[in-house]
């Protein structure tokens, strides 16, 4: 749990003229479970895409396992990613299990076919999200929440060393959501590095080692409890942020605040 596995160094990113990220630095240690929270438009998805090398920042660098993200090469196949909005063609003639298998394509390599072990990992991943009975369905025949589950399964199927999750439990029912976080906890115990974006601060605070608040600038808290306690949220979301508590889980409702220029 010592060495840094992801290093974001002084990253700035703008969609001209909008500055989305301003001088963001972040270090994630191997095996750490980090949650990123922040208001809509705060730049969370943008930051994840920069970490994955899908977007190139105007300033700053990202290193994964000591290598610049542009030069990751084969290491890429160890990163599982669940996007917030997947750009998937759901009419594509492919079954659920074949879809989940696509997560392993980087591991399998050019010109090779999936082997028995690959299929075993796919079945295991589908079991984890309780979708194993849907394995032969065409992906377009699934409901919204089920689609989300197979995206999660795909990210698990590649036996990731790093999991990057962008609001993975939106559209997923509360029971499945809870069992998903339990699963993340087990993966965390196995030493997998996890970064997840979530709006459910209360839930995330129970599981994560650390929480980063992102609204153009990033502040990382290594003790999740302090985020909920010390008025950090009000500061980030604005004074209009209102809290609702039912049971033990605090929910946050955020009103739109215009971005600062």
């Amino acid at each position: 749990m010592e060495e840094p596995i992801i290093e974001v160094k002084n990253v700035s990113f703008c969609y001209p003229p909008l500055e989305v990220l301003e001088d963001v630095s972040l270090t994630v240690k191997k095996g750490e479970f980090l949650a990123i929270i922040g208001p809509n438009g705060g730049g969370k998805t943008t930051l994840l895409k920069i970490i994955l090398g899908l977007l190139k920042p105007q300033k700053g660098e990202v290193y994964i396992a000591g290598k610049r993200v542009e030069e990751l090469g084969k290491w890429r196949s160890k990163i599982g990613y669940v996007p917030q909005t997947a750009q998937i063609d759901y009419t594509f003639p492919i079954t659920v299990e074949e879809f989940v298998m696509t997560g392993r394509f980087g591991l399998i390599g050019l010109g090779r076919k999936p082997q028995a072990h690959d299929w075993e990992m796919v079945r295991k991943a589908l079991r984890e999200v309780k979708m194993e009975e849907w394995n032969k369905k065409q992906i377009g025949e699934l409901s919204g929440g089920q689609r989300q589950k197979i995206l999660i399964a795909r990210s698990l199927a590649l036996e990731p060393e790093i999991l990057i999750l962008d609001e993975p439990t939106t559209a997923v029912d509360p029971e499945s959501s809870e069992s998903f976080y339990e699963l993340l906890l087990r993966l965390h115990e196995q030493g997998i590095t996890i970064i997840t974006v979530s709006h459910d601060v209360g839930v995330v605070a129970q599981y994560a080692d650390s929480i980063a608040c992102l609204n153009r600038r990033l502040i990382k808290h290594d003790r999740p409890e302090e985020v909920i306690r010390e008025g950090v949220l009000e500061e980030m979301y604005g004074r209009e942020a209102a809290f609702f508590h039912h049971g033990t889980i605090p929910h946050i409702v955020v009103r739109e605040t215009p971005p600062e220029r």
């Binding site: 196949s77 998937i88 594509f92």
Partner: protein, 268 residues
């Protein structure tokens, strides 16, 4: 079979075999990637390429292949970052390359009749050399599709994830365009450049209605395409019609018959 007595017909049928299977397979990727219109544009651009070849005194077909690949890259460059919509870019290249072709032919003294053969196909002109070239190109296309099968599937299904796991997404896109251009070479004698894109669209579109399983789609598309190419060639011989047009009309009839069939018959 009286039709097989003629050497040119034997050669045409042999090329038809390659064209049928490869067009169907390549076509499934083209249709799934929504490149049908782009494909039509690129194959029409081959006219400009052939004219350019004639004009410069180079091999017309070879010039056309390089020309088509360049047009494919040109279209990709225009649509990068959504600056120009794909159909607009295709529309611009589609017409401008044909205009270039017309211009160059006008500049060259003496109208060359062979041009019609390139536009509409000419199975009488299938030479022994064409046979060898077709076989070689067929092997290249088949091998590329086989070797990059998984990667092509993912880059079409979910290009973002393809990039995350490190697949060369734009290379795969250009590869598909290059294979498309190569396919024009082997099918030009049979159907001509005007109708080439039909072979890459219609059988695949027909097969996609029958099945939601990619492997079955590939098989069905090949059977359909093979039937239409070989059947169309034979029909055209007996009816004394244009082979290319007969093949395309036959494929279209199968497509609409499938389309009009009630759904339960088609599912699975």
């Amino acid at each position: 079979m009286e039709i097989l007595r003629f050497a040119f017909m034997q050669r045409a049928l042999f090329i038809g075999l390659i064209v049928g299977v490869l067009g169907a397979t390549l076509g499934v990727f083209v249709v799934l990637k929504r490149l049908s219109f782009m494909g039509a544009g690129i194959s029409h651009a081959a006219f400009g390429g052939i004219a350019l070849g004639y004009f410069l005194g180079w091999d017309p077909i070879l010039t056309a292949v390089i020309f088509c690949i360049s047009v494919g890259i040109g279209i990709s460059m225009l649509i990068e970052n959504n600056r120009i919509k794909e159909d607009t870019a295709v529309g611009i290249f589609f017409t401008s390359t044909m205009a270039l072709g017309i211009l160059l032919i006008g500049l060259k003294e003496g109208y060359n009749i062979d041009l019609l053969g390139y536009l509409f196909g000419n199975i009488l002109a299938v030479s022994r050399e064409d046979l060898v070239i077709s076989l070689a190109i067929g092997v290249i296309i088949a091998f590329s599709l086989y070797f990059f099968f998984k990667e092509l599937v993912l880059s079409i299904l979910d290009p973002e994830m393809a990039r995350v796991i490190g697949l060369p997404v734009s290379f795969l896109h250009h590869l598909l365009v290059a294979l498309f251009a190569l396919f024009i070479v082997i099918s030009v004698r049979i159907v001509g450049i005007i109708l080439v894109s039909a072979l890459l669209t219609i059988p695949a579109a027909t097969a996609l209605q029958w099945s939601k399983n990619l492997r079955k789609v590939l098989v069905l598309s090949s059977i359909d395409s093979l039937g239409c190419v070989l059947g169309g060639l034979a029909l055209s011989y007996y009816l004394d019609t244009s082979p290319g047009a007969t093949i395309v009309i036959l494929a279209t009839v199968v497509f609409f018959t499938t389309f009009l069939l009630p759904l339960p018959l088609k599912k699975k």
